[in-house]
Subunit: 230 residues, 2 copies
């Protein structure tokens, strides 16, 4: 089979730069999530729980290479493409280091879900090939059920846990939005991607607001699945 020809959108250097940025942010996001999950897995009360979190982590790591390959294909260096996002993600993780196993679980579930929602929203504005790669990189290996089960069980065992974890979920959302805004402010290319171009549809302010509403609603929904108020 011959390589499919590159979509016309890539003839616009700004679009190409935006896609490279997008692959870079997702790749580094997955890499840093992998590292933190392996860290958090050490808080597991049982070896089976640790194995479950480590499996979630390695599944995320598996998404990094295809994203890096795509960046190379687009003529950029994958490490350079990830570099601008190292600090915001590291800052997010430093500010949201779980103090126990349950906080780690909630972070894995809520943080991952939020990131995935955001990338899915952005995926609406890119070419089909890029969109497919993004969607593939957001597949989880079905371990989400495990998190829901463990958190609900912990709340059933001790109701006070729910209040503490609900606060924790709000803090995660706040830190994620704060770092997300920082990235958007610093990376013009990503902001331009959302704003659209001559031949590409974009978001006006009202649409942007609706997008943030959807992200918030989905977050509320995920917290509810864990048995937590948001």
């Amino acid at each position: 089979m011959s390589e499919p020809s590159e979509p016309i959108a890539f003839s616009d250097p700004a679009y190409r730069a935006a896609v490279v940025d997008l692959m870079g942010v997702i790749a580094y996001g997955e890499l840093s999530a992998f590292e933190r999950l392996v860290d958090d897995a050490k808080l597991s009360p049982r070896l089976t729980d640790k194995l479950a979190l480590d499996s979630m982590a390695t599944a995320q790591f598996g998404h990094v290479q295809p994203l890096m390959d795509r960046i190379t294909q687009l003529g950029s260096d994958p490490v350079d493409a990830m570099a601008p996002f190292v600090e915001p993600f590291d800052a997010f993780h430093a500010k949201t280091a779980p103090s126990d196993w349950l906080e780690g679980l909630v972070k894995a579930y809520v943080g991952d879900g939020l990131a995935a929602d955001f990338y899915r929203e952005i995926a609406a504005f890119v070419d089909a090939g890029t969109r497919e790669l993004i969607m593939d990189s957001l597949q989880d290996a079905g371990q989400a059920d495990f998190v829901v089960d463990r958190v609900k069980q912990a709340i059933a065992d001790d109701h006070r846990v729910a209040g503490r974890l609900a606060l924790w979920g709000r803090r995660l959302m706040g830190e994620a939005l704060s770092q997300g805004q920082r990235v958007a402010a610093e990376r013009d290319s990503l902001a331009a991607l959302l704003a659209g171009g001559t031949d590409r549809p974009g978001l006006d302010l009202a649409a942007m607001t609706r997008m943030f509403s959807r992200l918030t609603e989905n977050h509320t929904q995920r917290m509810a699945e864990l048995g937590l108020a948001s």
Copy 2:
């Protein structure tokens, strides 16, 4: 295809217990090596180096599940089978936490190599199916060249590094032997496996001594590949 019938050796409960122990020790060894490598990868000076160590780590994690599946097949619980080895491995890693990136690299190379050699020696005393599984779980993903390259480069940049890392390699070997002896002393089944049985060849004291010579020689060889005295 039908399941191959179980080798006759497994009709001996002591042999079955020894194989479960062996799968357990290798599985937990790979799991703990995975965790520590991801930790050590954080010391990487460059994102590419971190990615290389994280890849080594996830390759090791990929070996855990097949070993656990085999334990289940043999009628035991994988988590129970790993449990006796948690403490010795954790103690080894606690006593050999690298203080920098280069120590982490040497530990990954030398520690992994030593463990692999030891399991290969033991593999000579088990049935073909078990042996094959052990051998599969010891495959590295070819990242060893990366370690050799980085360590040699560091020594070329600053010769004093070689003395420090040579000492570090000796300490790793010492701690590994000390924890290994502890495991052998506590797990009769593994010692019995090496000693052989009615229908199984084993090691006498002279053969055991030769085995330790081989392990030491290979260690020396690996240190030399890194450009280090042992």
